[in-house]
């Protein structure tokens, strides 16, 4: 089988949905739920998620390219990025399953799991349902039997600049004209742009833009773009509404800077899910997310968050080996 082969059944006569196989894991959906099956310790096991929650989680995994570290769809299943390879697990970070040997992890070529997830998203996302949208912005067409698709929504490209958006040859700024109207929750955000007074010859070197206006035009939730690049230091702002559809398990320290409104983070131990803290962030707050936690955010009003990442490739191994402490600074 080639890395890009997707193993899928014909469409179900009953629901219209296809079922998928990824290694020994099985994935199927019905009108309400997605079911994941696996075998461990001689036992057939399964786990169910609401189909909308599953689609929102898979959408982030696909859009982020499996992101940094762990993307827990919930307390049972998820992925771990090994950068070139990706683990899919069930129960591995759930103590009740782990202690009884009922967990299962398999490692896949990134391209194979990506192709399978994209095929699932394509088949299981009905017309009118946008997994990137806040619940108030999309329909309930995720439930029920298969009805069409929403490829325009699920095939969005993550907007990552090379240096800074708006520079010649770099990512575009967001405007009405290129399909990014101001979001309903940011209708009061100023659209004024900086005044740039460049001397002749420096028109392409002097550059500024309104980051807040740019974010007010984001058409997705919980999906960071990249707005400035300094070597491996990446500013990744994002707009957040309702609940982060996954629990992100860190393989490095990352930092959050709350740019507007309020966001609450529930922090759990990365391996066991045991609660460790709540971090309630208001505009201007800065907080580190240590390398040994998983976190999930809750935002009652669409808010602007700057996620600051260090993309140095060696970091996961340095934290895993204990050469780096899981927190960023000692004081």
């Amino acid at each position: 089988m080639s890395a890009l082969d997707v193993v899928a059944s014909p469409a179900s006569n009953e629901t219209g949905y296809r079922s998928f196989q990824l290694g020994s894991f099985s994935f199927s959906r019905d009108e309400y739920f997605v079911r994941v099956g696996w075998e461990a310790n001689g036992q057939q096991l399964s786990h169910k998620m609401s189909a909308d929650a599953f689609l929102r989680a898979v959408m982030r995994d696909v859009a982020w390219g499996f992101f940094y570290g762990w993307v827990n769809f919930d307390a049972m299943i998820g992925t771990r990025n090994l950068y070139g390879k990706v683990e899919f697990y069930a129960g591995t970070y759930n103590p009740a399953y782990k202690e009884r040997g009922l967990d299962h992890t398999e490692t896949f070529d990134s391209r194979q799991i990506m192709a399978t997830f994209k095929a699932m998203l394509d088949d299981w996302t009905n017309e009118g349902f946008d997994p990137f949208a806040a619940p108030d912005e999309t329909s309930k067409s995720w439930l029920g039997k298969k009805r069409g698709n929403n490829r325009g929504a699920i095939e969005r490209e993550r907007q990552a600049c090379k240096r800074m958006p708006g520079l010649p040859g770099d990512a575009e700024l967001r405007t009405d004209a290129n399909g990014y109207p101001v979001n309903r929750a940011f209708a009061d955000v100023s659209q004024d742009e900086p005044e740039i007074h460049a001397e002749p010859g420096f028109e392409d070197e002097l550059h500024a833009f309104s980051l807040f206006a740019y974010l007010s035009r984001s058409d997705v939730t919980w999906n960071p773009s990249v707005s400035s690049v300094l070597e491996r230091s990446l500013c990744c702002p994002t707009t957040e509404e309702y609940i982060l559809p996954i629990k992100h398990g860190n393989d490095r320290v990352e930092w959050f800077i709350q740019l507007s409104d309020e966001l609450e983070w529930q922090i759990e131990d990365k391996n066991t899910g045991a609660p460790r803290a709540k971090v309630i962030m208001k505009a201007g707050d800065v907080a580190a997310m240590p390398a040994d936690i998983r976190h999930q955010g809750f935002s009652k009003k669409r808010s602007m968050l700057l996620v600051w990442e260090n993309a140095t490739p060696e970091l996961p191994q340095l934290y895993e080996s204990g050469k780096l402490k899981p927190y960023p600074v000692e004081f």
Partner: protein, 170 residues
């Protein structure tokens, strides 16, 4: 609840030196220090003008908070830097340096001893939420008629000040 109903009720809350509220840490089984929790407006309210206070650090890379007030010294770096105006109005003046202000191996912001030698690139007038590129090879200075706040993406350097005990929940 309809989208129309919500649109009428939305009010986006940004912070400022005059009006900010710091969030909270609810510790269950952890140390508050692990989160190095601070607030840029709180930090700037207690800083000297253009003091470069580190509020986030990740193995040499930093985010610094600067209180913008009056005219800053001239700064430069051997790499790009990016400034986001979090509060106030800040003008950024830029000069293309004839010679580097520091060797390429020197990381972080350096302060020039006097006026930069080079061609004027121009200036940028920024308000809250605006982001400006401070390009490698350029000297720059900030001007703010009234106190404001800048968040600077840069690399830890000789001007960076770390005072975590003073700015973070412990």
């Amino acid at each position: 609840m309809t989208a129309e109903f919500q649109t009428a009720g939305f009010q986006t809350v940004f912070g400022s030196l005059q009006d900010y509220a710091k969030g909270e840490l609810e510790i269950i089984n952890d140390s508050p220090k692990n989160y190095a929790f601070s607030n840029v407006f709180d930090v700037a309210s207690r800083s000297a003008a253009y003091e470069k206070v580190v509020v986030a650090i990740n193995l040499g890379y930093v985010l610094e908070t600067l209180r913008a007030e009056g005219t800053s010294p001239w700064f430069a770096a051997s790499h790009d830097e990016f400034a986001i105006v979090m509060d106030g109005e800040v003008e950024v003046e830029l000069v293309k340096l004839e010679a580097p202000a520091a060797p390429a191996s020197k990381r972080g912001t350096v302060q020039l001893s006097g006026a930069p030698v080079g061609r004027r690139m121009g200036h940028v007038k920024c308000k809250r939420g605006h982001q400006v590129l401070l390009p490698q090879g350029a000297a720059y200075r900030f001007k703010a008629a009234r106190p404001g706040v800048i968040l600077l993406q840069t690399i830890e350097g000789e001007l960076s000040k770390q005072k975590w005990r003073e700015i973070c929940y412990t």
